[in-house]
């Protein structure tokens, strides 16, 4: 049976303080002008409990912008694989970002496994936090079915009037509850408040686009030759912001760096973007996605079409980051609406 405990709101600070003494704690922190970032905290005072999706999703802890894959020595020569990891707890992960982590987990654990990712994942405890309200007009978490918790966490916090209802979902979560303390058993009153809150959510959260969850795949699979891609391509400046901020984008480049001894160095991977013109270019100059519109189409297909075939799920969480970050104001919800209209 599902295990629920509660944490009084006034105990949250003590909980975070004590947790941060056992391991680094990352949490959403305000950065002014509706911006939030995940960063290290040692008390709850710094945490923004009501935040809209952070600039970068928590994927940065699972799959950092640059990480070492191996070290090399030119004279030996030898290449030594490196698996980096760091114990930490991430507090306050919204349901959309939990879905993003689930997507990355699927990719990285598909054979052959990516143990650089897996090693980091092993070290991370995930504490989710429910959104009681919409974050802003860019979100489309309802149509993506990510506005309610769907697993992918060790503990999951839901804010109720005077306490947090906490779902204990793993042994790691259970250990925190036992070791850090401050938790009490959930009472029927809390259970009822949780149900009321969820009922209220069902009133507030409605499909954000002119298509239902199940229809999205068909809309995109039939949209290769849509005029929308040219329209979007004309505006896109190929900056790659949309892919950098996306919780389910994981493309990377592999680069060697050499130390000052000119003999040893590291090979690392760095985030790359399918929006870069050279991303798919091969020697001889051939490029199947030379136009910006083709590259935007690829990005969308990688969210709504290809992964359904490969991983049986959408790779868009509905977080809205790509639309918030786009300087050309290319908007995911508008794109879906335009394609849905065309299909009609």
């Amino acid at each position: 049976m599902d295990k629920f405990v509660t944490l009084n709101k006034q105990d949250l600070n003590d909980f975070i303080v004590k947790l941060s003494r056992s391991q680094p704690v990352m949490a959403p922190v305000a950065r002014g002008c509706k911006s939030f970032v995940f960063e290290s905290v040692d008390s709850a005072k710094a945490i923004a409990l009501h935040y809209i999706p952070t600039i970068l999703p928590p994927k940065k802890y699972f799959f950092p912008q640059r990480e070492t894959l191996l070290t090399y020595n030119k004279t030996t020569p030898a290449w030594d694989p490196v698996l980096e990891s760091r114990k930490m707890a991430i507090f306050g992960v919204h349901t959309c970002d939990l879905a993003g982590i689930q997507c990355l987990n699927m990719v990285m654990s598909a054979s052959p496994q990516d143990n650089n990712y897996n090693a980091r994942k092993e070290g991370i405890t995930i504490i989710g936090l429910e959104c009681n309200n919409y974050c802003d007009e860019y979100a489309s978490c309802n149509v993506m079915d990510n506005h309610l918790p769907n697993g992918g966490y060790d503990l999951f916090f839901t804010e109720l009037p005077d306490a947090f209802m906490v779902h204990v979902n793993s042994n790691a979560g259970e250990r925190i509850v036992n070791d850090i303390g401050f938790f009490s058993a959930a009472t029927p009153k809390h259970t009822q408040q949780l149900e009321e809150m969820r009922a209220r959510k069902r009133e507030i959260f409605k499909p954000e686009v002119k298509a239902g969850h199940k229809q999205l795949r068909g809309i995109f699979a039939g949209a290769f030759d849509s005029r929308q891609w040219d329209r979007i391509g004309e505006r896109c400046v190929a900056c790659g912001n949309c892919t950098n901020v996306c919780p389910t984008c994981y493309c990377f480049d592999v680069r060697d760096e050499i130390n000052l001894d000119f003999n040893t160095g590291t090979r690392g991977r760095v985030w790359d973007s399918c929006q870069n013109e050279e991303f798919a270019q091969v020697a001889g100059g051939e490029n199947f996605r030379k136009q910006r519109g083709q590259r935007q189409r690829h990005r969308y297909m990688r969210k709504f079409n290809y992964p359904v075939e490969r991983f049986s799920r959408y790779f868009c969480t509905g977080c809205g980051r790509c639309s918030r970050a786009c300087m050309a104001k290319i908007n995911l919800k508008e794109t879906i609406d335009a394609l849905a209209e065309e299909k009609r």
């Binding site: 290449w79 490196v82 143990n115 990377f252 480049d253 000119f262 690829h298 075939e309």
Partner: protein, 278 residues
């Protein structure tokens, strides 16, 4: 954060020793490479390895030798950029990093007992040679063998002597064509597609194995279909930008396929009509 040295990384790279090299043309250089204790690479024809030059980087390169060749394997590298240029600077005794083999190669078990029509354009001969030599070394397991080779000029021909050996065999039919000829050239002149209509074949039991630059595929496939070769018996090897070889980095993606893992060899029925495939 202290790097830990782990064993199960997908990026394990082993040192390979260059045992022999040969400048084949102005741009292409041949390498014979051995692994520690002359261990076999354990590849199938059509697979590739990621080759590293420390400090410069890594590049996907097709394995040109047949698995029937033991104790070493062969690569041919065209000089186009950073890694390939650094490889060209290496010679016998030098070391490179080897990761792999990767990808799905030619399905030799399925090809057994059938007639084979090999078609290679330009550098396509490099991976195809692995399969051709595999077939020749197991000649009795296969039916009729026809080889069609094409390149720009006679100077660009690779493996001249070996091709001559194939040409001399009675159990192999081999023709070459060049786009632009010179006075010494004795073969055909014109595009490789021009050679296909003249091949006599039993479409039902023929597998066409085609490797070449992207534009070649479109025209060659049309000719093969005109010959009634079933789509699933047309095999192609697709080149894509590749960074990881293990289905993660996204560079090689073709629709829902990762070319590095699901390919590089695909039968035509799997990619027909697929956007951005051909």
């Amino acid at each position: 954060m202290k790097p830990e040295h782990g064993k199960e990384s997908a990026y394990i790279t082993q040192p390979g020793t260059i045992r022999n090299t040969r400048q084949m043309t102005r741009l292409e250089k041949y390498f014979e490479i051995t692994l520690p204790r002359q261990r076999d690479l354990g590849h199938e024809p059509g697979q590739f390895v990621m080759v590293s030059v420390p400090g410069v980087g890594e590049a996907p390169i097709s394995i040109s030798s047949s698995p029937t060749k033991k104790g070493c394997f062969e690569l041919v590298v065209r000089k186009v950029g950073a890694v390939s240029t650094a490889l060209h600077a290496l010679d016998s005794g030098d070391k490179v990093g080897i990761r792999g083999p990767f990808g799905k190669g030619f399905p030799t078990a399925i090809l057994e007992g059938n007639d084979l029509l090999f078609i290679a354009g330009g550098l396509g001969i490099v991976p195809l040679r692995s399969l051709i030599n595999f077939v020749i070394d197991n000649r009795k397991d296969f039916g009729k063998v026809t080889i069609l080779l094409g390149c720009k000029t006679p100077q660009d021909m690779l493996f001249n002597e070996e091709v001559h050996q194939w040409w001399k065999r009675l159990d192999v039919s081999c023709s070459c064509t060049v786009d632009r000829s010179d006075p010494d050239w004795k073969g055909n002149v014109g595009l490789i597609t021009g050679l296909i209509p003249g091949v006599s074949l039993d479409a039902e039991r023929t597998f066409a194995v085609v490797v070449g630059p992207p534009i070649m595929y479109k025209f060659v496939i049309l000719e093969l279909l005109k010959k009634d070769i079933p789509e699933r018996q047309i095999l192609l090897s697709l080149e894509r930008h590749m960074k990881c070889g293990v289905g993660k980095c996204g560079h090689c993606q073709i629709g829902e396929y990762y070319c590095c893992q699901d390919g590089p060899v695909f039968s035509y029925d799997r990619i027909r009509g697929k956007h951005e495939a051909l």
